[in-house]
Symmetry: D2
Subunit: 365 residues, 4 copies
């Protein structure tokens, strides 16, 4: 709805700038009785946290989530139970390096929102990107951690499948590999390639784009809606809302353009257990906007980090030509840390539709 809120029934409002005292979110509409631990949230936060390897920004943030409302602690002193009231979560900013922002306060960094932002608002918190900083996504991951709990049996996993021109070999896909390397890479053979490649880019002060794939299993068949609340529509919307994302695909995505109707049809048969089986999943688990029960598969492309050491031509707020190079701590490939964010967005979309389906159809699906 509004500019800093997403979701209709599982509603998340985020707030905060990169260099303010804190950032956070309010999750409204979480059903009562959802059980989770602080450790479960924190484990997901840690996947996105900066400073985890030499391939991501060296900013150091603990990203500890404080829960301020909407939960009671169970008798074990550890499990939290949602009460149905809004859950406010706060994350302090601790590593706001004091530096001279004089230059970029006035100059527009190419590829960043600086120019467009100034045109819109006429005032801009330039420190660390302000509201446009990717630090905002910490709040998304926290909200996504709750969303995963709302839908029984939901499992959402993401992986990085391409950096620059280097794509994984899908035949090597192994989910167990994803947490074994700093790239969330499911193809063990690709890891050393990416390491070498990113080291070069990092040392050159350059950056590179990437592609992330997220797969959600256990999505109840029937959630979604046929027209303007297609499940894939809301997934596309939320993935595109992640900083630096420029493309989104569901199922076969752009490859569908080259398929015939015969090839693209996901044929069905009744299984031995009396349940319908899909013989393929070109649709990525969604037909006509509604989940089929097959895994939901989405991909998104992330452009290279705009903060690079090479000088680029730009202008400043006074309308003068300037050359800008962006010093500081940056991710050479923001796609890496986009993996847990993509997971969070998809978990939130599914949780929202799960509740919406319960409203309209009584959750018959």
């Amino acid at each position: 709805m509004s500019h800093n809120t997403f979701g209709h029934l599982f509603r998340v409002t985020t707030w905060g700038e990169s260099h303010g005292p804190a950032l956070g979110c309010v999750v409204d509409g979480c059903p009562p009785g959802i059980r989770f631990t602080h450790a479960e949230i924190q484990a997901l936060m840690d996947k996105r946290k900066p400073g985890q390897s030499r391939f991501v920004t060296q900013r150091r943030e603990d990203d500890v989530v404080k829960l301020l409302s909407g939960v009671m602690t169970d008798e074990d002193g550890e499990t939290m139970i949602s009460t149905g009231t809004p859950i406010s979560m706060l994350i302090e900013n601790t590593d706001q390096r004091s530096k001279d922002y004089g230059e970029i306060a006035r100059s527009y960094r190419p590829g960043h929102a600086d120019y467009a932002y100034d045109v819109k608002y006429g005032i801009r918190d330039y420190r660390g990107g302000g509201r446009s900083s990717a630090r905002e996504t910490a709040a998304r991951v926290a909200a996504g951690a709750l969303a995963r709990k709302v839908v029984p049996g939901l499992k959402v996993r993401g992986a990085l499948i391409q950096i620059g021109k280097h794509k994984i070999n899908r035949a090597n896909w192994d989910w167990d590999q994803v947490d074994q390397n700093p790239f969330f890479c499911p193809d063990a053979a690709m890891v050393p390639v990416w390491e070498d490649y990113l080291d070069q880019i990092r040392k050159a002060g350059s950056s590179i784009g990437a592609v992330v794939e997220v797969v959600a299993e256990g999505v109840p068949a029937g959630i979604g809606a046929p027209i303007y609340a297609k499940l894939d529509q809301d997934i596309a919307s939320l993935l595109m809302s992640i900083n630096a994302v420029k493309g989104v695909e569901i199922g076969d995505g752009f490859a569908s353009a080259e398929l015939s109707g015969e090839e693209n049809a996901d044929e069905m048969r009744m299984g031995n257990d009396g349940k319908p089986i899909f013989l393929s999943n070109h649709s990525g688990g969604i037909l006509g906007g509604i989940a089929t029960g097959e895994p939901v598969v989405a991909r998104f492309a992330i452009k290279p980090t705009s903060s690079i050491l090479s000088e680029r031509q730009s202008i400043d707020a006074d309308g003068r030509n300037v050359d800008v190079r962006t010093k500081g701590r940056h991710d050479p490939c923001v796609g890496i840390r986009a993996v847990p964010i993509g997971e969070a967005m998809i978990a939130c979309a599914i949780a929202d539709h799960y509740l919406r389906d319960r409203a309209q159809t009584g959750g018959r699906s």
Copy 2:
């Protein structure tokens, strides 16, 4: 918000099934004083209308839009002026061929929403796809015709750039060609290739996917918002809401994954007229979710029509294995008629953000 409404301030609610008496939309939030003629709406409707060539469905619909509210007629007896109240538009269904739906009433057509729809609602208007029919998009085009008028100077144009493996040569791009052939193809050299190719597909009772590109010029710099109301996010959402769309790109899209930060930077300089100039437009006119003033460029992939003559394996509502072939009048490439629909969706997204910007910043951009 709800399942059949999109937009926040330029709000469109559509209704209607393929085989009911009519379909239509209500456009709420249109500013007062917007002037347009019925002929202007109808010209856009005609672009989407079935039966225009042998490459689209042979269903015959006039698709005449009746305006039922929200406008007054000017003294010339022709120009309509919006009054600021909801504009209700109605399109009658006239060519609902009476046929026996007995078979598909129970069988789930592969690739269609039939199965997912039944799981969700437990009741389904199977005639012509019911609510999931692409006839719903007629209402979108009517709404889009108004949206184009809301933003002064806005120009939104689309083209088909790929059918199957056959992609246009972008060096040949000529907007004037687009209305000269039945494909909305901007590359004259590609037209005969597509004709032959689609004739084969049509005769085989098969179908094929496609890619559409839409370019919006005159988008005011500053519209959009940095977090969950990114202009590209809402464009992605609305494009993905079109039937059969499986992928969406903004600017360089998935190709961004292969770019370095140096390549991707849209550098700027002050122009001779004292206005900022972008030296490239990798971003597709949107940075950090906010319009830069450059042309907004979006692409979307459409899967092949699921209705094909070849038998495909499926199940029916009683859980029996069946083989389904879909007779009747179908588009061999739904991508063709998706061009005006994509234009409409982008016009609506831009109109909505134009009004939202006016609310928050007073339209300073």
Copy 3:
């Protein structure tokens, strides 16, 4: 959300002017499988219909509701079943008396929206009040007819309890009387008093205010929410949205101001059947914004019709002083026809909260 839509999950969008070809509404979010007949809707429409007695406007409208989408007809050929898609309902305007609007097109009728409307929009359909006409409420009654069906066991009834200074004797309250007189009056003894009184007012070309009370039984305990979606809040909002309403009360309403905490407490005991019993209902069936299961009781005050025959001082659109008297067909007491409208609004609010509760808590209440 938007200006012509209400409800969050049972969403109603109305459109249409008094003197256009038609008016109507789109009901979005109605669950699938709701069964109703056209006659049931029409019976409620007839309660609001003009021309039913000499005490209401003599405009003659059939107010026949056409259902254009969202339903299938059952095998009996009569019962309609909602499919879960938007239900579009249309009511034609048939008695638009052709008259010279020259005068009031420019003059602002005191007590009407004319002046404020022109300030806002700068353009106004002055014929019959345009969008501000009470004819818009026909669409509300149609939507309310569906809303009543959404909540199993819901019974919503209204009555007129005061005209001018003449209040009913609550000791005489008899619901069976309500349909026996042209005033929806539950007190048989008051009917002749009101007849004489309104005849005088009518003959004098004057008008008078009134108070309506609506009681909803069968409201599931637990619907509503503690903060900004209080059930009474949404009832107040929708009642205040009815033309000419100037006050709303829930339960004891303004009389609560004179009560002590001891008097106001709705004490409870367990009933013999093991269910909780409230010993009184000062709260009007809502505590802390949530339904208690007791009857929901709401009242609203309607100001006198602003259209009167006596001249009143005003100005015109050119800033000149003018004296205005409003000829034509008017209700001497708009409160009468407000009864079915109030019922409809409360039915819609309850249906909406019923679905919202189902979303958040699984409908455990």
Copy 4:
């Protein structure tokens, strides 16, 4: 929209329980460039703060608002400037008296939300009323402080006009008196009467209802909308959302029921300065849902505090009959502290409509 958010373009989301670590709100949609000081917010917070006199609860809270995002500090080091991003405000709970809640954790206090809440959610933070505590209204006052700044020239003032049967004499109305007594009473002669009366009630451990009136001056003519976004509708909604409110009136309110059309007409004349003048304001500044430019006048009735020392019959969560008396620190007349809350709600409604008008009509009004 959602259950803990209100407003469409000036959107406020509140969160927090009475006995959690903190409560707060996120204000989204505030225009950029709004200037205010922390002291201005705090002055309004202090009006609502507990412990200010013997006539309100003795809970001691500083209610200091921390601004966590969405503002930059001007060069004077004091003035804050909104940046257009969400403004997060946090208020710590400091006086959460540790006591044994064992009893009321299980028993339902008559007149409170306890029973309805348990039916709905099945889990309840019983400490101090949890989410239903009036402490939530602190966040509303903070949001209202910003809302007042959004509309240039807006002045919103409230007063208590009735406690129990003791109504002020409107002839004595003096706004300067309002801040001179602990009741926000505009009638100096009534102050000693209320003092004696409330002392009795307080000593008896009883409570009493009240009526508040709020007047907003400087409301731009033209804001509001004719159908479901009537300005009075949204005011009614927000006033009814305040804990314990049972009735709302605009302008003459329920007294309108006794007026004739002649009496109720707010006649107009052109003033000497060439601007329209209303000769009366029965409408309370709103006609047909749209502001006329006259002062907006609203009243609301607050029921007596449900927490009283006398035993009252009730049941507990185990379905047993119990007798409940509510010890602790309570307001004998919650109506007193409702004055600044009512002001905040009306300021927020006006700010929201001001922005909505700017969107649809370009703020021409």
